[in-house]
Each structure stands twice: as C-alpha cells, then as structure tokens.
C-alpha cells in the first residue's frame, strides 16, 4: 500500500486506496492482537468461567494467578528465565559484534568462506544440531543445568549477519581516523564503533532477547528433570488425563509475556529505528 502516486491523483481513487489500505491494516492488526487479548481475558475470568466466550471477562478475578503462583514457583522461574535469556542474548551480542567487526574492518584469507560458514550455521535447522549438542552437553555433564541451556546458544549466525550489514555501512574513514589518532583496533571497537552503533545493537539485543525468552524446545530438552524456566512451568498445567487447566495456564503465560512487553514499550523507538536506518549519517 504505497501511496507514492497520491499527489498526482488527488481525486477519489487515491482516497479509496488510502481507506482500503487502512482498513486492511486495521484488520491485520486486530488479528494479531486478538489471541493476546484472549489470553489475558481468559486468565482474568473466574475459574468456572474459563470456557465463557463473552468478549469482556466479567466479573474479574485473579484466582487463576493465585493458583498459578501456588502451584509453581513463578518468581524463581521468572528469575531463571531472565538469567537464561539475558545471558544468552548478551553472549550472542558480544560474539556477533566481534565477528562482524572482524569481517567489516579487515581482509584476511578465507574471509568469504568463514562468513558463509557463519551464515550457514544460521540456516541449519535447529533439529540437525540438536542431537550433537545434546550428546556434547551430556559428556560435559551440563544436562539439567541452566548453563546447559545457555552455552550452546552463545553464538548467533543471524546476529553476525545483521551486525555485519550495519558495520559494512559504517564509515571506514572513522576507523582510519581512530587509527591515525593512536587507537588500537580493540579500543577503536569500544570507543568509536560501539557508541555509534547503539541503535543497531539495541535493536539486535532486543531481538535476541525475545528469541531467547521464547525458546521452548531446547530448554525442554536440556532441563528434563526440572521445569526450571517459565516456559516449562506452563507445561505443568497441561495434563493428558485431567485435561488442561486453562486458568492458571493462561495466567502463567500472561506473566511470561509481561517482561517482554515492558522491554518493548521502553525501547520501542530503538527497535524501529535500528531496523529502519542502517549505519550512520
């Protein structure tokens, strides 16, 4: 729905296009928001009302939240999840930054091959790497530990790819100026590159954090014995015999979403600008 031609046809045609465009967007928006709304609506109904289909949950009740907190240690899970997500995202950010800087600032033998290997690792489906990683964790004795969840995910091919795009458009003369001014490559990275890449780093950081936060399968595999992270805590309200306990389930899920919402609201500007603009200027 681009409207580049709007000024040329100020009459009805472009007007209808705008209206149709906005309607479509509004519908798409609703479709996106609805499941989330329903999640919270359900979690706020009284336990007996969870199967109601009235659009407004009334009367409100926080019973489901109480049950959830009683049955699983939500606070501990929240903390664990945060630790896992933050450490994973930070690790990925750091490794991506170092790799992307190397790719952008130097020429070295096998550069292309190495870069393709990084990108390739992103294209390899998770399921392919899953078993070798699992075996390795077993041999290292890291199964059923949070480290076991974090360590194999410390490098992100996607992160390297995205940051390299940003760094490639980073003015080379700035790097050269820093070199003339007496900075080493290492201090140039921290004194010149990182401060000017804050928007991109913030955007990528959020992306990686959300990814790590939403990870379900890998933690489920590594943490078989305990449900140590929130996403697995949700599991305990599902059971084949008694059916799913929707109230506490939606309440836990709702709580699990909250931190991400808050981060997004706080850093929204960075997320958008980081992906829209690339580089400086």
């Amino acid at each position: 729905m681009t409207n580049f031609d709007a000024p040329e046809t100020p009459g009805g045609r472009s007007r209808t296009r705008v209206v149709v465009g906005h309607l479509t967007l509004a519908l798409l928006g609703l479709a996106c928001v609805f499941p989330i709304y329903w999640l919270y609506a359900t979690s706020l109904r009284r336990p007996n009302d969870v199967y109601e289909v009235s659009p407004l949950p009334w009367p409100l009740s926080v019973d489901s939240y109480r049950t959830a907190i009683d049955e699983v240690d939500v606070l501990r899970l929240l903390l664990n999840t945060t630790v896992v997500a933050v450490l994973t995202a930070l690790g990925q950010l750091l490794t991506s930054l170092l790799a992307a800087y190397a790719f952008a600032a130097w020429n070295f033998p096998l550069k292309r091959v190495l870069y393709l290997a990084f990108v390739g690792s992103w294209l390899v489906p998770f399921q392919v790497a899953m078993l070798p990683n699992y075996v390795l964790l077993h041999q290292l004795g890291l199964l059923n530990t949070l480290s076991g969840v974090i360590v194999p995910n410390i490098v992100s091919g996607l992160g390297v790819l995205l940051l390299r795009q940003h760094l490639d458009s980073f003015p080379k003369e700035l790097l050269e100026a820093a070199r003339m001014d007496g900075r080493s490559s290492w201090s140039t990275l921290w004194m010149v590159v990182v401060p000017n890449l804050r928007a991109a780093l913030a955007a990528l950081g959020i992306l990686l954090l959300v990814n790590a936060w939403n990870e379900y399968f890998w933690p489920a595999l590594v943490l078989q014995r305990h449900n140590d992270v929130l996403q697995l805590g949700i599991r305990s309200f599902m059971s084949a015999t008694e059916g799913d306990d929707w109230g506490p389930l939606t309440a836990t899920a709702g709580l699990a979403c909250l931190p991400i919402f808050i981060i997004y609201l706080l850093l929204q500007r960075h997320v958008v600008s980081g992906f829209v603009r690339s580089g400086l200027r």
């Binding site: 050269e176 070199r179 003339m180």
Partner: protein, 411 residues
Amino acid sequence: MSRITVENVTRRYGDVRAVDGVSLDVAHGDFLVLLGPSGCGKSTLLRMIAGLVSPSDGRVLVDGNDVTEAPARDRDLAMVFQSYALYPHLTVERNIGFPLRARKQRKADIRRRVAEVADILDLGALLDRRPRALSGGQRQRVALGRALVRDPGAFLMDEPLSNLDAQLRTATRTEITELHRRLGRTFVYVTHDQVEAMTMATSVAVLNRGRLEQLGTPTEVYDTPASAFVAGFLGSPPMNLLDAEIVSRDGRLHAVAEGVDVPLGLDHPSHEGEQVRRPAILGVRPEHLSLRPAADAGPAPEAGGVPNGSAPNGSAPNGGAPNGGAPAATLRGSVRSIENLGSEEIAHCRVGAAEVAVRARRPAGFTVGEAVVLTVRPEHTHLFDRESGRRLVWQPDRDPQVPAARVPVAT
C-alpha cells in the same frame, strides 16, 4: 620536524596499479600538493604515507627512518580526511582531545591543549556541540583541530576543502596556508583542484594513472610542463595541444600542421634542402595567443571564412611564410564560440581539425564564424613527443659534423 621520503612505492589492487613506482622527497616544512585527476592514485599514495595502506613495493621514510612496516600511530603524522571523519558521538571538545586521550595524557593537559587549539581555529563557542550540529565549514575546522592538537611532525590532508562551497573554500585555503606558515610543519595535501595546488603549494607532484608525471614548484609545473598530460591538466582552459610536425625549412625549424606554422626560432642549417620531419605535439597556452581578424594578415583567405571542417586553402603550411623579417607564429582558423567569463572572454577557434582556446580581453569584438589569425611568440610554444608525451627540449649539437642529431630530443 618531518621530512617525508617515498622511494619507488607501488600499490597494486589485483591487476590495477593504483600507485606505480612513485618517488618523492618532501623536505621539512614543505607544502607538497599531490595533484591529478580522479582515480590517479593520490589518496592511495597519501594513505601509504599515513600508514593506512601498506605498499606492495618500495619504502616510506620519515626523517630518514624506514616506517614502511610501522603502524600509523608510530609515524607522528596527523591526517585530515575528505569526509572529516569526526566522531559523531563526541562533542567538539572531545573530538579534538581524542588523539591526546588515546595517548593517555593528563586530563588537565588535554583541556589546556584543546583550549589552545580551539582558540587558534576560533572554535571556542562550539566546544559542547556534536558534529551533527555544525556547519560544513565548522566541521572542517574541527577536523583541522583534531590534527593540530597533537602537534605532529607533518600533516596529511585528503581533499579537505572539496565539501565546502566556493567562497568558504577560498577563505579556508588562505587559512591553511597561513597555518602552514605559522607552524612551519610539513604538509602533504591531496587535491584535484589546480587553483589550490597553484596557490598553496611550495611544490606540486602531478600524478597520472599512478605515475608521477612531474614534480616541481607551481611555476615550473605551469610554465614548463614536463609532459603533454601536465600541460593539458593545468590551466583553465588548459594548454591547447595540437598534433604537428617539426620540419626544417630555409634552415629554420618550424612546427607545422593544418592551419599552423610556428617558427621555433632554432637554426637548422639546410643540407641540400633536406627536410627533417618529426611528429610532435605543439602546445600553446590560451593566454599566450592573440587574436586578429584574418583580413589583416598576409594573404587573405577566400570568402569570409570557412566555418567548420575544410580548412581555408590560404593557410596551408607554406602560405604563412611571406611575413619576412620577424618570424610570427601563426595559426589560422575560425571562431566557433565565445565564452564570456566576466573579466575576460574565451574564444574557441577551430584550427585545422583541432579546437584552440584563446583568452582575450573583453570585448574582443569577434563574431562566431569569423576567420581569424592567432599569433604567438615562439618562446611561448611547447613541444611534446607524440608517443611518450614527454616535453621536447632542444639540445645544441655537440658534434657539428653529424647534422642528423640536430633534431629535438626527448628528455
């Protein structure tokens, strides 16, 4: 305190030789301008001196020490980039102080030194601003400040004025010249603007396709260009270059072409009417030509001038001779167009198949299509070898027994 020596330096990028066997010696306190058209390797040469690019061959010396392998920061050189390369996240004050902080100097010293430099460059009021909030000229001065603050042995500048408008460029040009005089440091300055080269340099190195065409003072480079390339690059409009032949006639050497007969003022004692023929390029600066209507001169060409293409018959090489005594160098042609530059006019004339520009006072009073005669004093003509493009100089014959040696030879 820096003398910069470049010895036979070459830089290859794949098959391209960006810089090809260049040797230069920049004495302490010199202002060397690297001049040449786009892509001739000026920036690459400067970067090799700076230590940002390593040469494929050859050596770079600073004060006699081989620094070819030394990192940029150990060379005691500062650089001003074309884009200024100011750190966008730092204020002007921190931008200027950056090189000092990188060298771990004391905070108080840094502040004092930055204030000094800001004072020199009149940046005092802008110290708290970010580069984004500065005008082009101010950014340029901050970039200068960042180079000045360290008091380096030499300054390297890569087209520092190319992003400024004409007025500011003239003003900054004067400022930089003034700075050079005051600091007494060595400057190596890259530009493709010949006005900058002529006005600022103590010596000019003209580069073409990675090779050094000529190294000399601005006057030398302009008055005695070492090659047809230099002649055709300097001046605006540049020197007129015409394909001609050197022949000997009546014991004198002439450069002749269609519509052109230039006595070179050199004796060549005739041996049985023998004619020396040598292909060459004749060069004449537009300001050394004077225009007059064809009717005044010698045999009048038929009917009011022949505009384009076919040359007037009357101007065949031998036709210009009857002027008798003072040998006047003449070019015959017709006016194609006239450019008014305000203070003067440039008349573009067609002479034979070539286009010749003439600088004339206003109003020159010529009309397009008019047949004209252009005259030039023989000492204001230049000759270049057709093949190599090098300047031809007359070498008096050391052995008068061998007359064949009496042709101009290439340097």
